[in-house]
């Protein structure tokens, strides 16, 4: 809001600002959940509710979502958009509310320079394995995760296989305790 006010002053336009309401879902659990988070943007993606969130607010939002009835975190994954977006990675969290029969997907932009995200384990303990998988495959690390280690690849593996710049078929097989290809 303050940014908009400054913009108006600079441009010298003095007519009353037209408040463009940000799109919100129809009144219900979801609308009540998103409403207090000013930075959260809601959209429909192929008919499903998606909330785009700054990563600093992830924990607060997750706690609010759990209180609002989203009991289960079914999935945490990530996408590597490489150069297609300014922030290379996107973290995707899927929540389910059995009480309300709703699903909600959170998407968070994660820049390549600082690939860290607060861990959801304190709110949803079941995110543990999924976050380890994201760390293993994308190199996105989770703050305050109880066990931030590789889960699928060997402990001494180099690189993160699901990143787009990790080639297919071009990486020699890595054997433990032997000549290592960098």
């Amino acid at each position: 809001m303050s940014d908009n006010a400054e913009d108006r002053e600079r441009s010298g336009v003095d007519h009353a600002p037209v408040a463009i309401p940000r799109p919100l879902p129809e009144a219900g659990v979801l609308a009540n959940l998103i409403e207090p988070f000013a930075d959260a943007a809601w959209e429909l993606s192929s008919g499903q509710d998606v909330v785009l969130l700054p990563r600093a607010q992830l924990l607060d939002f997750a706690a609010a979502a759990k209180a609002a009835g989203f009991e289960m975190c079914v999935d945490v994954t990530a996408v590597d958009y490489q150069r297609a977006r300014s922030d290379r990675f996107e973290l995707v969290v899927n929540l389910v509310s059995m009480r309300h029969g709703e699903r909600l997907r959170l998407r968070l932009a994660v820049p390549a320079e600082d690939p860290t995200v607060p861990s959801l384990v304190s709110v949803y303990p079941g995110a543990n394995f999924f976050e380890r998988e994201v760390f293993d495959m994308f190199g996105i690390s989770f703050d305050d995760h109880p066990d931030m280690t590789r889960i699928l690849m060997p402990d001494d593996w180099q690189g993160h296989p699901l990143r787009k710049d990790f080639g297919v078929g071009s990486v020699p097989v890595q054997f433990k305790e032997s000549h290592r290809v960098t």
């Binding site: 192929s46 995707v92 059995m98």
Partner: protein
């Protein structure tokens, strides 16, 4: 059948088929009672691992002689593949469990980015190899949602029938290996025997016993074979008798009950917190089945009930699977009776290859055929998450397309992967022997876990 010696010295006999007497259902673990006669009830439930004390901290004063670290697996026969458990034991009590996975990791999500959307099902079908049709279905549904195409009723009905058959065969393997692990080897023979019936039908329809590549974006690969009604009728005829046999063999078996009742308990709250779905969640009494709450492929037209347990122990998980087999049979019967006529694939020439006959007649059909099989069809830009109820729980597919003919990202939310997180809750402060029952009861498929 069972017998019981009464105090007077005569023998009570129970013949299967009649109403079972109380002593049979209650279990007759006489030997166990004698061994623990002096023990209080509290001590007994502690030993059985019923009560889970989660505030355990490692006591450094206990030296290495009393605490032992045991690596169970990855080549242990009861770990259903290559699961490794890092166990910390105090005598026979398991104090700490850490599942270590990744031994079957083959980078299938990476492979999916190299395959076109039409080739995708060949890849995902190899993930959960006991329920390959469910994997194909969830991938196809995700692609179809991005494409925005609707399936004809016959394709949907075939999909429902085939996945429910697959659910039965998967639950049969679960019960069979569960029996084998705990020592009821006959269950292995019985379970595999009936599974063979279903696999024979799957082979007749799809050409393969597993990794079918039958359900594809745009429909199914082929129509049902001639005489499919007879095969289905044979399965529907045989299975109810088989279920009675399993019940006679396990449900009223005091050894089986002793090994599974009150073993590896998980509560509803724990299951929700740890993202556990499928029969393991329903065994805790939570009525959550995606076939009811988020129906797919027209499954809402058919009548069935959600099988639930109450106690959340290994026995309830086995019961839920058995009840689900009965419910799947109900669905299959309804589908077979109401199988709609029509086409088994969508009529979108850009997505579905033309039939062989038209290729000989039409130049356009030949071009479409060539383009679909070389370049693949293009899927509009977008992202979606589709979830279905696989035999192991919520099977999800997160699919991102950048508008090309290959996915930008394909992620499978594997139910076994999440369900493995239940192992530490189930096993902590339980007996070592019960780890076998616990692993078998959540029915992990390592291909699904590691992908």
């Amino acid at each position: 059948m069972g017998d019981k010696r009464t105090e007077q010295g005569t023998t009570e006999l129970w013949v299967s088929g009649t109403e079972e007497p109380d002593w049979l259902v209650a279990g007759t673990d006489e030997g166990a009672q004698q061994m623990q006669r002096d023990e209080t009830a509290e001590r007994t439930i502690e030993q059985r691992g019923t009560r889970v004390i989660d505030d355990f901290v490692i006591d450094d004063s206990i030296d290495g002689d009393e605490r032992m670290v045991v690596n169970m697996g990855p080549q242990h026969p009861s770990t259903h593949g290559v699961l490794r458990l890092h166990l910390e034991l105090e005598g026979e009590i398991v104090r700490k469990v850490k599942p270590i996975i990744g031994y079957l990791h083959t980078g299938m999500e990476k492979t999916a980015e190299q395959l076109t959307f039409l080739q995708g099902p060949t890849n995902v079908t190899r993930m959960d190899y006991l329920a390959p049709l469910h994997n194909e279905l969830v991938f196809s549904l995700a692609v179809e949602r991005l494409l925005g195409i609707e399936m004809p009723p016959r394709a949907q009905a075939i999909r429902v029938m085939m996945t429910e058959l697959n659910r039965i065969s998967s639950h049969l393997v679960a019960a069979a290996t569960n029996g084998l692990d705990i020592g009821a080897i006959s269950m292995m023979f019985y379970g595999v025997r009936e599974r063979e019936l279903i696999l024979a039908f799957l082979e007749k329809t799809t050409g393969l016993r597993m990794n079918h590549n039958y359900i594809r974006p745009g429909g199914v690969a082929a129509d049902l074979p001639d005489g499919w009604q007879d095969d289905i009728a044979g399965i529907l005829d045989r299975m109810p008798h088989a279920l009675v046999e399993y019940d006679q063999m396990l449900r009223y078996n005091s050894i089986w009950r002793g090994r599974t009742v009150d073993v590896a308990i998980i509560t509803k709250q724990e299951a929700l917190a740890y993202g556990i779905t499928g029969p393991s969640l329903r065994a805790t009494g939570c009525e959550w089945d995606l076939r009811k709450s988020e129906p797919y492929s027209g499954i809402e037209q058919y009548e069935f009930d959600i099988a639930t347990g109450s106690n959340g122990d290994a026995y309830d998980r086995y019961r839920v699977r058995m009840d689900e087999i009965a419910q799947s049979l109900r669905i299959i019967e309804q589908v077979a009776n109401t199988m709609p006529p029509g086409d088994y694939k969508a009529e979108d020439a850009k997505v579905v290859p033309p039939p062989r006959k038209r290729i000989n007649e039409s130049m356009e059909a030949l071009i479409h055929h060539f383009k679909i099989y070389t370049e693949g069809f293009k899927v509009p830009e977008g992202e979606t998450y589709v979830a279905i109820e696989s035999p192991r729980g919520e099977l999800g597919c997160y699919l991102v397309s950048d508008g090309g003919s290959k996915p930008l990202r394909m992620h499978i939310r594997a139910p076994s992967f999440a369900n493995l997180q239940a192992l530490p809750i189930m096993m902590t402060d339980g007996m070592l022997a019960d780890t076998i029952a616990a692993i078998a009861s959540i029915d992990p498929v390592m291909g699904d876990v590691d992908r």
